[in-house]
């Protein structure tokens, strides 16, 4: 009996509610005649495409800057990398590699500057991160209009300048990872390449956290004063954490976009930070503690929930957008809950 209690405590009340909700959704989906294999395939794809973005929370939380609400900073760098690759005519796997290769140095610089900023505003990182992300998204809206991209598949056809709101990746490197080594069992399609790549990124981050720099980073996140006393530069660790997080976000959006089939520009990246934050929290992370397993579990739960909620919601309530409403309530509810746990009513 005490075992059951510890298990329950480990799972946590919030997660238990979500898991029960997920199960009832699955039963409901079966009830309304949805094909389980299609839902499972969709869930797998969405797990793969969102995993790296959620993974970007790991270095941020570990280094002590809290959840990275400034994720759009990295996402914009990733989009820039993707666009450059398309502009240069990159296709297939080469296009993807080129996109990531361009995105990484840009996001490293952006992450460094963002990390410098976060070092100046210790204690308010999450709020400032949100608005830095918002500001960057809106300044890049002007950027997308002015940048000298020429590829006709990307610019508005009539005006001849200014990038389109969504850019199709069919002719460049759309779903290269999804199709790589993909196979079918019954009706279930497994996007092997996508999942392997995302898990490989997790492995890289895991290895990093076991390296000397990674351990120093985790130490300065855990207890900055103690870390400083042991000769670790906390500010440097935080910058490394923020840089890594920003770079992962850049890779994450490239992976996301190739699977989604479109690059989404302008306002689209505005609120992209919230789903990964919610997923990580749902997986068991807090604003000060996180493990890779949290990221994987959280992404599976959160994305399956959204995938399965959609068809059920459409059957239950054909008009309106119930699944979007569920997404708003679940993701923000989880974040709010986590914030109350972290704050603890100090005076």
């Amino acid at each position: 009996m005490s075992n059951v209690k510890t298990i329950l405590k480990n799972i946590g009340a919030a997660r238990l509610i979500i898991i029960l909700f997920l199960f009832s959704l699955i039963i409901a989906a079966a009830g309304v005649g949805q094909s389980m294999s299609v839902l499972a395939s969709d869930s797998l794809v969405r797990f793969g495409m969102n995993l790296v973005l959620t993974l970007a929370m790991v270095p941020a939380v570990m280094s002590g800057t809290g959840m990275n609400f400034g994720l759009p900073v990295g996402i914009l760098c990733g989009i820039l990398g993707g666009l450059t690759s398309i502009e240069l005519g990159g296709t297939g796997m080469g296009g993807l590699v080129l996109a990531i290769a361009v995105a990484l140095p840009i996001s490293a610089v952006a992450g460094y500057l963002y990390g410098r900023l976060l070092n100046m505003v210790k204690g308010s990182e999450m709020m400032i991160g949100t608005y830095v992300g918002y500001s960057m998204v809106s300044i890049m809206c002007i950027g997308w209009l002015l940048m000298p991209f020429k590829n006709p598949s990307m610019v508005w056809p009539i005006a001849g300048r200014g990038l389109r709101t969504t850019i199709s990746m069919d002719s460049s490197f759309g779903s290269v990872l999804d199709k790589l080594w993909a196979f079918q069992i019954g009706g279930l399609t497994v996007p092997t390449g996508l999942i392997l790549f995302s898990l490989f990124m997790c492995l890289l981050v895991y290895l990093f956290t076991k390296s000397k720099t990674g351990i120093a980073m985790a130490a300065s996140g855990d207890n900055p004063r103690f870390a400083e006393a042991s000769g670790i530069s906390v500010n440097r660790s935080r910058i490394i954490g923020t840089m890594l997080s920003t770079m992962l976000a850049a890779v994450g959006i490239v992976v996301y976009a190739q699977s989604f089939g479109f690059m989404q520009l302008y306002q689209a990246p505005l609120n992209m930070a919230f789903a990964p934050v919610a997923a990580a929290l749902l997986g068991g992370a807090s604003t000060s503690k996180i493990k890779i397993s949290h990221v994987i579990i959280g992404t599976i739960l959160f994305q399956s929930l959204l995938t399965i909620a959609l068809p059920v919601a459409n059957v239950l309530m054909p008009e309106g957008n119930l699944s979007e409403v569920i997404r708003l309530i679940v993701s923000n509810g989880i974040i709010l809950f986590a914030l109350t746990q972290a704050g603890g009513g100090r005076e």
Partner: protein, 431 residues
């Protein structure tokens, strides 16, 4: 608190001017940006003024609603989104009751208050659990509440609560339409007529009316109460000049276009004036002193016997109620509710406006709120045209103003947090 850093030193004129510049750098910079925008927009002044007067009318109370939480140390209350929702729920109820005109608007305001107080109470409870992270909590709460709000308007209304108003509901009867027409209440406040005299007058008449009100107010203080401050005399002088300018211009033939275009709704502006007077009045009471004490230092206030948590809840409730009323004024001027979006940007735009007026995360005045509203909406009005004329694309101007809104909040928050870190460091070195 950190706000005494920039106060000008006593001394020669030069350092005074410099002090003034440093203290008011944000509104000064934005005034310059606005002037450039006005110049390049190519619109005529009365047309810009017409738009700014009505935008100011729509937004002023929403911006003013941020002051009290700021002074209570809770930062920018992004939770006023919940106030806006209360206002919209009340307006929906009034529309279902088929009320119209001024009674409808007033009833909506009355009905919105209990909603706003309940929402404000829960917001306050939540913010008390997340001290130090109030702003992000308020913002996420706004998103979360938006989800619940959509659930209410999409499924609960009509689905669970039967509503007999086919013109408001989607064909199936479940869920409210994306736009609620407020035609029966449009301009109910703005164009209220009393004995066939419209209270919406041209700008010069409005100058005379408000000039007279202020002149009377200052005159009484000066001559009846025998106060003898120089500033008071100057304010009286300004009021009289306003009356004089209004009286001269109101009959000038060359300004006919101004009179035809720029209309000031006296009743709505009186309401704004009332809120402007109400906020300092609240701050002068015992409650107001508690609010500011809590804003200065929660620990000390608690030791001094102030119920910190309760005071903070009251501050949020006041703010939410003001926001509800502000949103109703906004919507009666618009003439329709975009059911699912009207509240979304209320928090962000209001916060940007008050910061542009020179407020910070811990200090704000009525004057800053009003100036900020004016500058922010002037910028909003001119930037698309200026963008078109400067860069050949109106979109650039539109994105620019959104960038300004987000950017000013980011910079203000960062500067404030940075100052606090520096202070903490200085404190540490002193110990």
């Amino acid at each position: 608190m950190s706000n005494n850093i920039n106060t000008p030193k006593e001394g020669d004129m030069g350092s005074k001017v410099k002090g003034f510049l440093v203290t008011n750098i944000v509104p000064i910079v934005f005034s310059v940006v606005c002037l450039i925008g006005v110049y390049y927009s190519g619109s005529s002044i009365p047309i810009i003024l017409m738009d700014v007067v009505s935008r100011f009318n729509r937004n002023a109370i929403l911006v003013l609603s941020l002051i009290i939480p700021i002074l209570s140390g809770m930062g920018l209350n992004f939770g006023i989104v919940l106030g806006a929702m209360s206002g919209q729920i009340a307006l929906f109820m009034v529309t279902v009751m088929k009320m119209s005109g001024l009674p409808g608007v007033l009833l909506a305001m009355l009905l919105s208050i209990p909603f706003a107080i309940v929402f404000g109470y829960f917001t306050g409870r939540l913010l008390n659990k997340t001290k130090g992270q109030e702003m992000i909590t308020g913002m996420i709460l706004g998103f979360f509440a938006n989800g619940l709000y959509q659930l209410l308007f999409l499924y609960v209304l009509g689905g669970i609560i039967k509503i007999d108003a086919p013109n408001l509901m989607i064909g199936s009867g479940v869920g409210v339409r994306a736009t609620i027409d407020l035609a029966p209440m449009k301009y109910a406040l703005d164009r209220f007529t009393i004995m066939n005299i419209s209270t919406e007058v041209d700008i010069f008449t409005a100058m005379m009316v408000f000039g007279a009100v202020f002149a009377l107010f200052y005159g009484v203080r000066l001559f009846v109460k025998k106060e003898t401050e120089l500033a008071l005399k100057a304010k009286l002088g300004l009021s009289i000049i306003a009356i004089a300018v209004g009286a001269v211009c109101v009959n000038m033939e060359s300004l006919r276009q101004w009179r035809a275009l720029v209309k000031v709704p006296l009743l709505s502006y009186s309401l704004i004036l009332l809120v402007c007077l109400l906020i300092p009045a609240i701050l002068r009471t015992k409650l107001g002193q508690d609010l500011r004490a809590v804003g200065q230092n929660m620990g000390v206030s608690s030791v001094a016997g102030i119920h910190v948590d309760r005071t903070r809840i009251v501050a949020i409730c006041i703010s939410t109620v003001l926001a509800a009323i502000g949103q109703i004024i906004f919507l009666q001027n618009m003439g329709n509710i975009s059911t699912y979006n009207a509240h979304e940007n209320v928090g962000m735009f209001s916060a940007a406006a008050i910061l542009i007026g020179g407020a910070t995360v811990s200090k704000a005045t009525v004057g800053q709120a009003l100036l900020g509203t004016l500058l922010f909406h002037l910028l909003f009005n001119v930037s698309p045209m200026a963008g078109k004329n400067l860069f050949g694309s109106a979109e650039i101007g539109e994105y620019f103003r959104v960038f300004i809104a987000y950017g000013i909040i980011a910079v203000a928050l960062a500067l404030y947090a940075w100052k606090q870190t520096m202070q903490a460091k200085a404190q540490l070195e002193q110990d």
